[in-house]
């Protein structure tokens, strides 16, 4: 999946000469947490977060709000240079940038640092939810299989034979056994019994809580 598929293209921005007060108003008004700072050519030259702005704001415990701090230019508190990404970057890779750099927002730029969009940590999480398929109706089955070529089509053929639609597939390593993988299927059915029975007959190991399901009679 590419960044251009998940990025927001309508981005709230400010010029470097805007006041901190303007930034504060925008953050509150749009319920956002980051504002890229751009020059006249739409180039990203900095970024401010809600925390940067709050650090510059008077405390709610101070009765004297007459301070002029909020009239300073935003460029005095913005972070730069800015870590940016490209529309053709992979979503999986930018997840690593979020994690490694401990940041929560990435402006998307094209040639010459021109701003074309933005991806936030929240967008990223939303995408992960889509990838796992947990947002659509389905039953969830976990199967432990040997880690060898061709195993996935063998297993999925069993679902295909039952005309069971697969919503999502995840493959992750078996924690205690490097020769095995855990396949996680979300399938679009309320009655997984026939598929569970077929998988069992084909010799696959079903994980809890499905290992004994449908066997009780």
């Amino acid at each position: 999946m590419l960044v251009e598929e998940i990025m927001k293209t309508e981005v709230i921005t400010l010029p470097p000469t805007a006041t901190i007060q303007q930034a504060l108003d925008l953050l509150n008004q749009h319920k956002i947490r980051h504002i890229p700072i751009i020059d006249k050519e739409n180039h990203v030259i900095g970024i401010v977060s809600d925390r940067d702005v709050r650090d510059a704001s008077p405390s709610i415990f101070e009765s004297d709000a007459g301070s002029n701090n909020l009239q300073h230019e935003i460029q005095s508190i913005m972070s730069h240079p800015v870590i940016t990404i490209h529309p053709l970057d992979f979503v999986e890779e930018i997840a690593k940038i979020f994690y490694d750099k401990e940041i929560a927002c990435l402006p998307v730029v094209r040639e010459g640092n021109r701003l074309v969009g933005m991806v936030t940590e929240k967008d990223m999480l939303y995408t992960m939810i889509q990838l796992t398929g947990t947002h659509v109706q389905g039953s969830h089955i976990e199967i432990k299989v040997p880690h060898r070529p061709g195993i996935l089509p063998e297993v999925t053929a069993i679902f295909g034979k039952r005309k069971t639609n697969i919503v999502s597939v995840l493959v992750y390593p078996s924690k205690d056994d490097p020769d095995y993988k855990i396949l996680v299927f979300r399938i679009q059915t309320m009655n997984p019994l026939p598929v569970l029975e077929d998988l069992r007959k084909a010799g696959y190991e079903l994980l809890a809580p499905n290992q004994d399901v449908g066997r009780q009679l």
Binding site: T134, V136, Q137, G138, S139, H140, I141, R162, K163, T164, N165, R186, Q188, T189, M190, N191, P192, L193, A208, P209, N210, V213, G214, Q216, L217
Partner: protein, 389 residues
């Protein structure tokens, strides 16, 4: 408690909702429960009212015109495969069968008949075991459900009588169709207790699903862990529902009484016994009298051990409605004799289950602890906050 004036919706019109022989959803359950009650002597002819056939206008109180048209086409086996997919029809879960529109209309009409009995004042409680098809969506069939009779009945109550409705769903699957139907409505409070969506269909029903817009705060979910047993189920359920009823103060209660949380049920991983199916109607009955002048409508729902579990569980709802108490002791011999011949499994002989039918659950303490955490989370929402930012 003295006997209440209750009505039981039944006619053979409820039995035509039938996908095919091997499908787990089988309306013969309604017949088995009805026969059991007749043999037990708690259901007489004058308690029974027939379902009516819901009109298309009534069905469209909840469903889209285009969807109803699609079901009608499918009913005559004239719907193209491509169109069927768009409406969730013709799947393994919800296959197309001839006459499906009419059969579904009677299930809806059964629930509407139950509403009419109670709101006309002819009865205090009413039961439609043919209803409770809680997975039906506005324009999509899903999870064995075509028309969502519960959602339609609630819309009907809202439009015709303007009462505030508490919907309580004890099916082991999350009552998603009804939840989403009233997600933004502050006059309909939905509460579903179900096995967590971690493994089980439909996967939703997290405690943090709480409604949106004006309806925020009027959706409650209590997901409980796979292998939950009676005590933990009842503790969490009783506490939650008592608090929710006190918070919402409904005018009428509608319960969806799926009977698939039993340890015999093949489709779910919960591990209860008949004990919860005695307590669930008792609590609904008590709360209905406490808050709603008794107004309580109960519907059927899921339940896939149709011989050993569903007839007893559903019969007890009626017993509680009719005489204030569930029955106990031996099941009527005539019923056992008649149906043991048909049943592929050995039928239980008593209303209660022997506790030994529950397998040993090694993680019992963890499960109880997790359920209790979910309950504590839910209870936070039954208190009106002073200020939320």
């Amino acid at each position: 408690m003295s006997p209440c004036n209750a009505k039981y919706v039944f006619s053979t019109d409820l039995l035509h909702y039938h996908f095919h022989e091997d499908h787990p959803f089988n309306q013969k359950r309604v017949l088995l429960a009805t026969e059991l009650l007749k043999e037990a002597g708690t259901l007489a002819k004058n308690n029974i009212v027939p379902p009516r056939k819901a009109t298309e206008t009534e069905i469209k109180l909840f469903h889209d015109h285009a969807y109803v048209e699609a079901v009608k086409q499918a009913s005559k086996c004239k719907l193209s495969e491509q169109a069927a997919v768009e409406y969730g029809l013709g799947t393994e879960d919800t296959p197309i069968f001839s006459g499906m529109h009419e059969a579904s209309s009677y299930l809806v009409g059964g629930s509407l008949a139950a509403v009419d009995e109670v709101l006309s004042g002819r009865a205090t409680h009413a039961l439609n075991l043919g209803g409770g098809l809680h997975h039906g969506f506005k324009r999509k069939a899903s999870g064995f459900c075509i028309y969502n009779d519960g959602a339609i009945a609630i819309r009907y109550i809202r439009e015709a009588y303007n009462l505030r409705v508490l919907y309580v769903d004890t099916d082991a699957h999350h009552g998603d169709g009804v939840q989403w139907a009233f997600y933004d409505d502050p006059n309909v409070c939905t509460f579903s207790i179900h096995e967590t969506g971690r493994y089980l269909f439909p996967g939703t029903g997290n405690v943090n699903e709480r409604g949106i817009k004006e309806g925020h705060g009027y959706t409650f979910n209590l997901p409980i862990d796979a292998f939950t047993e009676d005590d933990s189920f009842l503790d969490a359920y009783t506490t939650a529902l008592t608090k929710i009823a006190a918070f919402f103060k409904p005018d009428i209660i509608i319960t969806q009484n799926g009977a698939d949380a039993h340890c015999y049920d093949p489709l779910t991983h919960l591990c209860s016994t008949m004990k919860i199916y005695e307590q669930i109607p008792l609590l609904a009955h008590k709360l209905a009298h406490e808050y709603c002048n008794g107004k309580w409508i109960a519907l059927g729902g899921g339940g896939y051990d149709m011989w050993r579990v569903v007839p007893r569980a559903w019969a007890q709802i009626w017993n509680v409605m009719y005489q204030g108490q569930p029955l106990s002791g031996e099941l009527p011999a005539a019923w056992l004799e008649k149906y043991q011949k048909e049943s592929p499994v050995h039928l239980p002989t008593h209303w209660e289950d022997d506790p030994s039918i529950v397998p040993i659950i090694p993680r019992r303490e963890e499960i109880t602890e997790k359920n209790n955490l979910a309950l504590q989370q839910l209870l936070k929402y039954t208190v009106t906050p002073s200020r939320q930012t």
